[in-house]
């Protein structure tokens, strides 16, 4: 299997949440998501209740992945920042470390400059956290037990009925 394992402990999740909250207060954005490049949502802060964050994470990761390929085609290793401008809401995406994407959704109460400034600072802080995590996780590997797989298979039979 490719990719090295990464274990994020609750302490680090809390630290990341604090950083995101601080950033949101600073730049007055609506919400922030931290998304894995594979499309999994790591954590989120702000007003995310009205959002389908699962789909959003998958689409944003897809969008970033295609942008990365575009970058390669024009001879850039990566476009580190991506910005979508809407009528009311805008999305700012930036790379955190090597494997995550920081997504900030904001409206006209703030400006792209403010979001960019704060997102840049937060991305550096977050990438330090990820660095610590990857150093710390080492050989610790999480696993599912036999019971989980068995229970899941029973549940699947209930749900997937023609």
């Amino acid at each position: 299997m490719s990719g090295n394992d990464l274990i994020i402990y609750e302490e680090e999740t809390n630290r990341m949440n604090d950083m995101l909250s601080k950033m949101l207060k600073g730049c007055e954005a609506k919400c922030a998501l931290l998304v894995d490049k594979d499309g999994h949502l790591i954590t989120r802060q702000g007003f995310t209740h009205s959002l389908d964050t699962t789909a959003l994470a998958a689409l944003l990761a897809g969008s970033f992945a295609s942008t990365r390929e575009i970058a390669k085609l024009v001879g850039e290793p990566e476009f580190s920042v991506l910005f979508h401008q809407g009528k009311k809401d805008h999305i700012h995406m930036s790379i955190v470390g090597e494997r995550s994407i920081l997504v900030v959704i904001f409206d006209d109460r703030t400006t792209i400059g403010m979001v960019r400034l704060y997102a840049k600072e937060t991305a550096i802080e977050l990438s330090n956290v990820f660095k610590e995590i990857s150093e710390k996780s080492g050989s610790d590997k999480p696993e599912l037990s036999d019971e989980f797989a068995d229970a899941a298979s029973d549940k699947l039979d209930d749900i997937f009925q023609d």
């Binding site: 994020i8 609750e10 999994h40 789909a55 689409l59 897809g62 999480p142 037990s145 749900i159």
Partner: protein, 328 residues
């Protein structure tokens, strides 16, 4: 690479439907979306062309509920089948946990099946996956059509890795759930061996006690509160940075500083460059001319050596050509 999020108490798997164009990958997802209970499914998102051909991917999240205290979530993706879209197809494979290869059972589609299968193996290898190891289920689709090849024949020609296989006709739903159930089972079986987990998040204090199977007995591992912490009423500012006036200054200062530094550096570089080039010119002159014995070392060779530009004529005469041609 099953993602086990211990703080949010979630297990998340990514399952990709692969196969040649028009083999029925999207139809599989549409059937699943149509048939599963509404509380278990999210929206089916289709990034398709106007002609309903998949352009990037289809995405369907499924949450089968809580198992031993953990939410089991599955993200079903399809890829664009057309050969042309290999770049985007490859992107969807990133971080995949299990695959369903949807093959078209019609005899005239065998070449396309084989080509797509070879492409799958290439793309998997590029990400470092081994097609013999990663969970893959083969689905022989369109069994309801007349004149399709027999399963034995299809197995012989396509199923070289001996993956589990199912007959299906996705339009009516035969075999769709069997395939999905099988791939999920293999993925979870594989996750048990623990060699494939990638991104997790768990409580440090109870790393052992909080495994999904043990969750029933353990009380630790509280989910991270995801309530919004931003209180805009309290801190509402009509203008960004209103009472934190320092921020824009902070923002401006470093950028200016950097800009100035860059300008300074570039001008220095320019000057140095010029000096060096002058030196070079001089050296070459010396080499070429045998009359000069040695260069005048005491005379500084800088751009200042160039005679100052002098304007010809006095103020009244200046701009003669401008006036002549009517340039303002």
């Amino acid at each position: 690479m099953v993602s086990i999020n211990y703080s949010a108490r979630e297990v998340c798997c990514k399952i990709v439907y692969y196969g040649p164009g028009l083999s029925g990958k999207t139809t599989n997802l549409q059937y699943v979306h149509e048939k599963v209970p509404s509380n278990t499914k999210g929206n089916l998102i289709s990034l398709a062309t106007e002609a309903d051909r998949t352009l990037y991917f289809d995405f369907l999240p499924i949450n089968i509920g809580t198992i031993n205290g953990f939410q089991a979530k599955f993200q079903l993706y399809t890829v664009p089948g057309q050969v042309y879209y290999n770049a985007t197809r490859k992107l969807v494979l990133r971080g995949v946990d299990g695959l369903v290869f949807v093959a078209d059972s019609q005899p005239d589609k065998m070449d396309e099946n084989a080509e797509s299968l070879a492409n799958l193996c290439d793309n998997l290898k590029e990400y470092g996956y081994d097609p013999a190891v990663i969970p893959i289920v083969m689905q022989y689709n369109k069994r309801d059509l007349p004149g399709v090849l027999s399963v034995e024949e299809l197995n012989a020609r396509l199923n070289t890795y001996n993956w589990p296989h199912f007959e299906a006709s996705a339009t009516v739903g035969n075999g769709v759930f069997d395939t999905l159930k099988m791939v999920i089972k293999i993925v979870l079986e594989k996750a048990k061996t623990a060699s494939s987990s990638k991104l997790t998040s768990k409580s440090e204090s109870s790393a052992e006690g909080n495994r999904p199977a043990m969750a029933g007995s353990s009380t630790g591992g509280t989910a991270v509160a995801e309530a919004p912490k931003v209180d805009t009423d309290e801190d509402f500012r009509p203008y960004p940075g209103g009472h934190t006036g320092g921020v824009p200054v902070q923002k401006a200062a470093p950028s200016n500083a950097v800009a100035t530094a860059t300008v300074a550096a570039s001008s220095e570089a320019k000057t140095e460059g010029t000096v060096e080039s002058n030196h070079d010119n001089e050296k070459s002159n010396i080499d070429n001319s045998t009359t000069m014995s040695e260069p005048k070392a005491d005379v500084p060779v800088t751009p200042l050596m160039a005679p100052p530009l002098r304007r010809r004529g006095d103020g009244a005469k200046r701009g003669f050509f401008k006036r002549l041609f009517g340039i303002k």
